[in-house]
Amino acid sequence: FFFLMIRRPPRSTQGVSSAASDVYKRQVSTQSTWDFQWCQRRSMGKESKSQFSLKKVKQYILVGRAKPVAGQKEEPKVYRMRVFAPNTVIAKSKFWTLMRKQKKIKHTGGELIAIHEVIENPSKSVKVYGIVLRYQSRTGYHNMYKEYRDTNICGAMSQMYMDMAGRHRAREETIHIVRTCVVPESKIKRAETKSFTNGNVKFPLLNRISRPPIKKFKAFARAKRPTLFLQQNNSDS
């Protein structure tokens, strides 16, 4: 019976978010991703060896509940959470932190029913991911809405963490993800994202430093200074 509950399709997020009310709220993963067997099959799928997306975090789905107490009339409610974490250990930790804060269920008084990694298809198309997050700065808590272009949600998440660290000195521990979604072109908010979504985007490559194709061939010292204008204006490729 609990497995039936696990297989139920994801419900839409509850409540209204003032920070992202215009943003399309559809979950990235479709109904089939909640299926454990589907996840297993996906994990055996082929991915190009040279995938370049940043892979700081993985997407996990955790399902847990409070331990049933003898004499309790109702079965404890089962909760499912979508977590972005680099590994299962941290994912579990985040899950129980939230359970404790929101549902008053402690790790000791609860049980984790299932933890699945959600693996997206390898990159076929570029999407714009909108991420609503809440982070703690040195002086308080702030909500943010950020957009990133990437081929998968984990790549976008990784970008977000790097971005937050760089711009706001916010480390991973202080960032809580409220909501993520795929943003359709018409609803993109940020100018930079919009400009790259434009089909006619073009720019030259500047300040090019040529490097050897394999790290092994990297020279410790070179006789000449690097030429930074390679492959730019040659009429022949």
Binding site: S48, K49, S50, Q51, F52, S53, P122, S123, K124, S125, V126, R149, D150, T151, G155, A191, E192, S195, F196, G199, N200, V201, K202, F203, P204, L205, L206, R208, S210, R211, P213, I214, L230, Q231, Q232, N233, N234, S235, D236, S237
Partner: protein, 185 residues
């Protein structure tokens, strides 16, 4: 603010500036053919399918041996070739465009590809062939120095090295054509 930021947020005026005044001819854009310089697929040619951001692009090479993937612009070298494709084109559609434009042939004819081929040939030489190359170089040097000594003030001329009369390996050897700059006294 660097040019890259200006390019992404402003109008086509900047592109014109870059092209006409600054002389940039090769742009990162959907349909641009690029060589992969680094990584697993280095040495291969691919087509930029979509620009993700100022550092990464989605790239694909259906008949070129490159799987569809995200790659850093740092790993790419842009070429002159530009295919007319819509951004985000699917692999199958791109394959048709590549075939239609005869891209594989065009790239094979480019000097870059020829240089790569000659580098590869050099690496494949066996000991005897290397000896042959050495002899040819020696002959060439002799002819060149002879010409310099004989023609102070005369115009430079093209000298072809004489091939040694060998049997089978000869067909593999590339003819060496020497042009040299006249060394002024």
């Amino acid at each position: 603010m660097c040019i890259r930021d200006r390019v992404s947020t402003q109008s086509t005026w900047d592109i014109q500036y870059l092209r006409d005044l600054m002389g940039f001819k090769r742009f990162v854009q959907a349909g641009r053919v690029a060589y992969i310089n680094y990584g697993v697929d280095h040495g291969k040619v691919c087509v930029i399918v979509e620009v993700i951001n100022s550092t990464r692009v989605l790239v694909d090479g259906p008949t070129l041996g490159v799987p569809r993937q995200v790659i850093s612009l740092r790993r790419l070298a842009l070429t002159d070739h530009l295919l007319k494709v819509a951004k985000g084109i699917h692999t199958k559609a791109l394959e048709i465009v590549i075939k239609k434009n005869d891209l594989v042939k065009k790239i094979g004819e480019s000097s870059w590809a020829k240089k790569l081929a000659s580098q590869k040939r050099r690496a494949e030489l066996n000991d005897f062939e290397r000896f042959q190359v050495m002899m040819l170089k020696r002959q060439k040097a002799y002819l060149v120095n002879k010409d310099i000594a004989q023609s102070h003030g005369a115009k430079p001329k093209k000298v072809s090295a004489k091939k040694p009369k060998e049997s089978k390996q000869q067909s593999n050897m590339k003819p060496i054509t020497i042009t040299y700059l006249h060394i002024r006294k």
